[in-house]
Symmetry: C2
Subunit: 352 residues, 2 copies
């Protein structure tokens, strides 16, 4: 195994003193890059790209060629698990992901099974191995999964949703059924992330895109409890691999999230890092949180906003710079250069 | 002038001791009611319905015929002001509101003017007068406006938006221009709400639908500062009329919102009323916050969730029961009956 040339983000997640703030971007391998769009065009569909290890490796490495990033993130889809369960994932242009066979009834839930990561999800593990070889130890590779709640939202609704009518009805009227569904999804996420670690990822991240749409009690019962279960299993079996959790729109819940077994928490741009740090008391690393739309602004404005984020976090070593959500597809790639350069220039002062 | 038969919500907003918790619903005159859909079909377009005082009155009164609600709310659109400024509001089926002439440049901003509420917006004042006659003093009438930030979002984007790229770019790169736009919109909102009060509304509410998409500093500078300016002007000229402010997804900002000159704050369902009350220290009335999707559940579950909201607020008189957002168009009207009945049954215990 090649030793790591840049382990800054790992040292940050272990709580060590560091020389500067590490930086990467959610969706950094994506449509804002012309070289990504070119590979995507060669691949065929988005799923074809995910399932082709060489091309998935190619797009994973593209942002590293352009920018001095401190991590790579596996190129894959958030919905690989329900697809592996046989729900029939497909994409329609401009409408986002959909499932041919959504999960609506107790009979549907009973038919679900924990996919074998080395069978149905083998293509993801192949991508991890290929990317690891391609990386040559330049930076750590982040693996990921959707959270059980977020996966369940897509599985029950059959697509993205504005109001989540179907899953909310199940949650409110049939909470035991909801829990059975979440339990099997959680077991699947655990075995999936463990397999990613065995294949070579050095950090795992759980994306809870839709948890922020719940009440506090429901967030704890139907989302955070399962994210915690995942963290506990990974902690028991893979204690060396740092874990991160990102729930969008979760500013009011950061304190309980800091006790859920994760080393790092993503923070979106609507919550300032200073109060987030007060709520979590340096028990966890905080990752974020430049407004993704700030990258529409001029490079000078972007640099000022980067300095604001760094100053808001303040002195300390438990900060990973990132956007508050994924980079948007119509961002000018040169604006990203300004953002990353400013993190490199201005963050060392906060590490003295 | 007819004296009010039910002034419970006014007494609540004045901070008086009351016998039970008042209840109404955002978008209570709306598509979930078959009688609304029938009137809407007779009116023609949605804007035709807003501009026809008799029909706007008819739909405003419809939910009061079905349910023992404690307030009526003016039936109108949130975008009447920019339409009156000549931007050309129109609706396309399934896509929401759009403007023919969005505001994108300094020259566009320079052409904006404060509409005369008794000229361009006379149809709204006619609707208020007609509704007041129709109400016969049964309950107070709530008037409303979009917040300056929310109106500016639609004016600059030209429609609803997922990422608000255009207005964020203006805000980040041309903050003085953004402030000039917000200033003229604020003056328009002040004169619009004052005219509604003169025409007979007894409470005014400012809806800040998109403020929750900002960072804390930007929320204070570009949204809350203007909502505060509106409150101050109304306080000076119409001190007897209570003011309410609702910013969606604003749980982390409730403390500064409580100092912005409003008597009541709307709270969405993702923030519990107990911490909301701790943050605001009974300085304001809190309005909310049943998850609108809870109305998809069975009447028994709905009643339990209503009791949870009441218990979460706890003992006290500064609570108005409402949904955490507008009622959804596919809710069963009989489920609303259960919700309101439960507020009537269970809230008196918290007022002893």
């Amino acid at each position: 195994m090649t030793s790591l040339k840049n382990d800054l983000i790992l040292r940050t997640l272990r709580g060590e003193k560091t020389e500067r703030t590490p930086v990467w971007m959610m969706r950094q391998a994506g449509r804002y890059l012309p070289e990504y769009r070119a590979t995507r065009a060669r691949a065929g569909s988005f799923l074809d790209l995910c399932k082709n290890a060489e091309l998935a490796c190619e797009v994973t490495l593209q942002p590293l060629e352009r920018y001095p990033l401190d991590a790579a993130i596996l190129f894959s889809d958030i919905l690989t698990i329900p697809d592996a369960m046989g729900l029939g994932l497909y994409f329609t242009e401009g409408e986002g992901p959909k499932f041919e066979r959504p999960v609506r009834t107790a009979a549907n839930v009973d038919k679900l099974f924990v996919p074998d990561p080395n069978q149905e999800l083998q293509y993801v593990m192949n991508a991890v191995s290929t990317i690891k070889q391609g990386l040559q130890g330049r930076v750590p590779l982040i693996g990921f999964s959707g959270s059980p709640w977020t996966l369940a939202c897509y599985m029950v609704e059959g697509s993205g949703s504005k109001n989540f009518a179907r899953i909310k009805k199940m949650m409110y009227d049939a909470p035991e059924l909801m829990h059975r569904l979440l339990e099997i999804v959680s077991q699947s996420v655990i075995s999936y992330l463990q397999a990613q670690i065995e294949a070579g990822v050095q950090i795992v991240m759980v994306f809870d895109t839709w948890g922020g749409n719940l009440t506090t009690a429901d967030y704890q019962e139907f989302s955070l409890a399962y994210s915690q279960k995942i963290a506990q299993a990974l902690q028991a079996n893979n204690p060396e691999t740092p874990r991160m959790l990102f729930t969008k729109a979760a500013g009011v819940w950061l304190a309980p999230m800091a006790d859920a077994g994760y080393d790092g928490l993503g923070v979106d741009w609507t919550t300032d890092l200073k109060p987030a740090r007060e709520l979590t008391q340096d028990r966890v690393v905080l990752q974020g949180n430049l407004d993704p739309t700030a990258l529409y602004a001029s490079p000078e404005t972007i640099r000022q906003k980067v300095r604001n984020v760094l100053a808001d976090y303040g002195h300390g070593h438990k900060h990973i710079f990132n956007l508050g959500h994924g980079i948007l597809p119509d961002i000018n790639p040169e604006h990203v250069t300004a953002m990353i350069d400013e993190v490199h220039q201005s963050s060392p002062a906060y590490h003295k």
